[in-house]
């Protein structure tokens, strides 16, 4: 299979404008003849559904939560990047493009990234027009901050709730279309499979989560906006419901899954406190602007598992016995090194026995100096909300004692392969937001996830989907096609199978077992031995799952265990592809760190000669090795260089 990016040739700066002119357009009077399915109501899904509705298409929009406003985009704290250069500090579209390509460790498609940087400015205009209450200066202008080590202040924010405010903006735009009858919204409805007719994506099968009813939906195109797969690790900062089901089901039907091993680990999350832990909570990266990261030099002062607490209260540890390991190893960037670097350094300290939280997995983030330098009030002004949140969860006040932090899975750069039009290799199947692989390469910069979700949904997909629809023209639609009957039959059969096992183990126990193994061997650092072990263990856990899982109740009613069982079953298949991708990519790049490929000082070593490509995997059957297809990456503008933060 040849993977064609379909990115416009020639000058990158005019590429998107030329492309918009070149694509076919649907006659406005004909738009109502087309129906588009959008799965997901996060930033990408809600913005796409609303925009398509405004254009005149009939939209069917699905969410598994009780309301479109609950999607996990809501939890993003930090902000959204845009190349507005409102601060006059030398930002530009080109600089945002450059930073994103470099930050992604030269594993993203340049043309996509350039377009993202270009439309970033429209997003802010759009959001402000919708009434998104971004932070402002006293003079009434929008405020900005610098984020994640960027050299310019290009991040727009709404306190620590930027994701919430942007999502509510998109949700309101969506509800306006629902009111106008252009979008039909189905909440508490989960997509369980994709239907392909004559080689084109033409519909989905869903389960109504209240009644248990399995239903068929036909359309002219299907858009997946179903987010990432961080929950393959069981513990992550993702919401409990986040899952890989929609994208994995599409992969099983022929869509290629690209770069599944690219996962982002966020360095500053609240550490695990016990085996019952259900999820992890992120503390905004902005904390590293003033907090200093350290671990005790003396392991005896760290975690003592026999006592279940640390050897010494951090406040009693004198300066000389503290290891400020980020400042020590990276004198230039210090505590502000990028996420992947900070995360690995914390892991190393813990591997070396210096850890300070449950099972030795945690380091300190200390505001003592900042409080002395700026005063308690000034620190409270900046981080008060976050400190409160930390105290609510841990019972400790960061004003009094250092915070405890540890890295946690947070975002996945991998996803379904898409071309420049955001269309997968299956015609008519479009994938947007975190669910696709396209813009972040091997590592995503802070405050860029919101930007990509909204860029795809408001400004890219509405144009590119028209190109496809205009080409295929209005077609007949029927849920009575054999393809629908067959896929629905398979969905029902699988559900019946899950219900019939009546085993002894809970769904979560399998999810936890898989997650811990993935975290251990396919998390912050990976090596061939661990990954090979994973490839043996995953099929074993999967086999036991299908023999011994317990799903009480019936399928014809609200059944939360059945919902989770289906998702975990998909994670158990997907994880194998992810581990294989990690094993085959014998280099270290961005979030993918292979221990075999590091310098003497422990820094990541990329191998551009062998691995400057997108790895797109084709599903060949459960337990069967998927087939690898490569899209070569060409860097015409930003020449690959080594990332160094020394």
């Amino acid at each position: 299979m040849i993977l064609e990016s379909k990115a416009p040739k020639g000058d990158i700066q005019t590429a998107w404008d030329r492309h918009k002119f070149d694509v076919k357009m649907v006659n406005p009077a004909n738009k109502r003849k087309y129906t588009v399915i959008v799965v997901g109501t996060g930033l990408a899904g809600a913005s796409a559904a609303a925009s398509l509705g405004e254009l005149g298409y009939n939209v069917l929009n699905f969410a598994f939560q009780d309301s479109a406003r609950r999607a996990h985009s809501i939890a993003a704290q930090g902000g959204i990047n845009a190349a507005k250069n409102y601060q006059g500090d030398g930002d530009s579209i080109y600089r945002l493009f450059y930073d994103t390509v470099k930050g992604g460790d030269f594993r993203a498609r340049e043309e996509n990234v350039y377009r993202l940087a270009q439309v970033s400015v429209n997003i802010i205009d759009q959001a402000v027009a919708q009434g998104v209450p971004f932070a402002r200066e006293y003079g009434g202008l929008l405020a900005n901050r610098s984020f994640g080590g960027a050299l310019v202040s290009r991040t727009f924010y709404a306190q620590g709730q930027t994701g919430q405010q942007l999502l509510i903006g998109a949700y309101q735009a969506l509800m306006r279309q629902v009111n106008d009858g252009k979008v039909k919204l189905f909440t508490r409805t989960e997509m369980l499979d994709l239907v392909i007719q004559d080689g084109h994506a033409r519909g989905i099968i869903t389960r109504n989560l209240v009644s248990g009813k399995v239903e068929r939906w036909v359309a002219d195109a299907v858009v997946l906006a179903t987010g990432g797969y961080s929950n393959v690790f069981f513990l992550s900062t993702n919401a409990m419901g986040c899952n890989v089901t929609s994208t994995w089901r599409a992969a099983r039907r022929g869509a290629l899954f690209a770069n599944p091993c690219y996962t982002q680990i966020h360095p500053t999350c609240i550490p695990v406190s016990g085996g019952y832990q259900s999820k992890l909570t992120l503390m905004s990266e902005s904390l590293r602007n003033d907090g200093r990261v350290w671990a005790p030099k003396n392991p005896a002062d760290g975690w003592d598992s026999s006592k279940g607490k640390v050897g010494k209260d951090p406040r009693q540890i004198p300066e000389a016995e503290r290891d400020y390991f980020l400042e020590r190893r990276y004198p230039t960037f210090g505590n502000l090194v990028p996420r992947d670097v900070a995360s690995r350094a914390a892991k190393k300290a813990c591997d070396d026995g210096q850890g300070i939280a449950y099972e030795g997995r945690g380091v300190y983030l200390d505001f003592g100096d900042a409080i002395q330098r700026l005063g308690k009030d000034a620190v409270g002004e900046r981080y008060g909300n976050l400190f409160e949140m930390y105290e609510r969860i841990t019972g400790d006040s960061p004003y009094e004692t250092p915070m405890r932090i540890y890295p946690a899975p947070h975002y996945t750069m991998g996803g379904l392969w898409v071309d420049y039009n955001l269309q997968s290799n299956v015609p008519g199947l479009f994938v947007i937001g975190e669910a696709n692989f396209s813009d972040h390469g091997a590592n995503r910069l802070g405050a860029s996830a919101l930007m990509q979700g909204l860029s795809d949904g408001y400004f890219v997909l509405p144009y590119t989907i028209g190109h496809y629809l205009a080409q295929v023209g209005p077609r007949g639609k029927s849920t009575e096609w054999d393809s629908f009957k067959q896929v629905e039959g398979e969905v029902t059969e699988r559900t019946d199978k899950l219900m019939s096992i009546k085993g002894k183990r809970s769904v979560d126990s399998f999810h936890r077992e898989l997650g811990l193994l993935m975290w251990e061997h396919c998390g912050m650092a990976r090596n061939a031995k661990g990954l090979s072990l994973l490839l043996q263990e995953i099929p074993r856990i999967r086999a036991e799952f299908w023999e011994n899982v317990s799903v009480p109740g019936t399928p014809g009613e609200l059944n939360q265990v059945l919902e989770r069982a289906g998702r975990v079953a998909d994670f158990l298949e997907f994880a194998e592809m992810m581990a294989l991708d990690a094993l085959e990519r014998e280099e270290s790049c961005g979030g993918h760190f292979r221990e075999e490929h590091q310098s003497a000082e422990g820094e990541a070593e990329r191998d551009d000669e062998k691995f400057q490509y997108v790895a797109a995997w084709e599903f060949k059957g459960v337990g069967v090795r998927p087939e690898l297809h490569k899209e070569a990456l060409d860097f015409r503008y930003v020449k690959p260089s080594k990332r160094s933060y020394k």
Binding site: S47, A50, Q65, D66, S67, R70, A71, I74, A75, K84, Y86, N122, D125, Q126, V128, A129, Q130, G131, P133, R136, E137, Y138, G140, L141, L142, Q159, I168, Y171, Q172, M175, R176, V178, N179, T187, V210, M240, S273, G274, Y276, S278, K279, T281, M389, R392, I393, T394, Y458, P462, K504, R505, S506, V507, D508, S509, S550, P552, G553, E557, L558, V561
Partner: protein, 257 residues
Amino acid sequence: MNLTLHVWRQKGPNDPGRFETYPATGISEHMSFLEMLDTVNEKLEAEGKEPIVFEHDCREGICGCCGFMIDGKAHGGQHKTTVCQLHMRSFKDGDELTLEPWRAQAFPVIKDLMVDRSAFDRIIQSGGYVSVRSGSPQDANAILIGKEVADRAFDAAACIGCGACVASCPNAAAMLFTGAKITHLGVLPQGAPERFRRVQAMTTQMDMEGFGYCTNHGECSAYCPKGISLDVIARMNQDLLLAQVVTRDEVRREGGE
């Protein structure tokens, strides 16, 4: 620690429902309240029994999914805390707790502790937005908005739509929820053109959904996990009055009355 839970179990909207008692044993003070329920559920599941249904997703206090009454208090009653952020260190060994769903005519029970809050979506749908199209609106800095106004809009926009306000109100009113959106959009210049139309449409929808009237108890704000202030209700009432004047003027201008 060990606790005893009296939990409302209801199979569906037509089932009368009843309390059942479960022990929660070996609970750590570091657990969140929902993690405590997870352990109870895992035990039930492994025994092949149906676990207690409750709604949750982000478990960070931001998505607004979670929420039920603990001993008659929405989200357990801890100041500005959703139940997913409530931790077991607030309880002690031997405690007996009663868990019930939000009780309101407009929020029918779906199962156990889960209720149907789609009435909130329909209130937003009736007018809780600014009518702009995706495209290229003017530059974001073209309209200046003073920090005080922006902050006021933000404070109102912090609502997560969990429904605790309705559940806490003796009249099951949705004034805090609706007022929050009306304030958020109404104070901003972008929301001004539709300000009066919006307040009329949203309050009409609110009444149609079967929410009660406000009699100034203030419980809604007291139990709001985001601390939305009662001011938003005053603002809504004021806008509603103004809207009557304004629309009458408009009708007259167009030759009516």
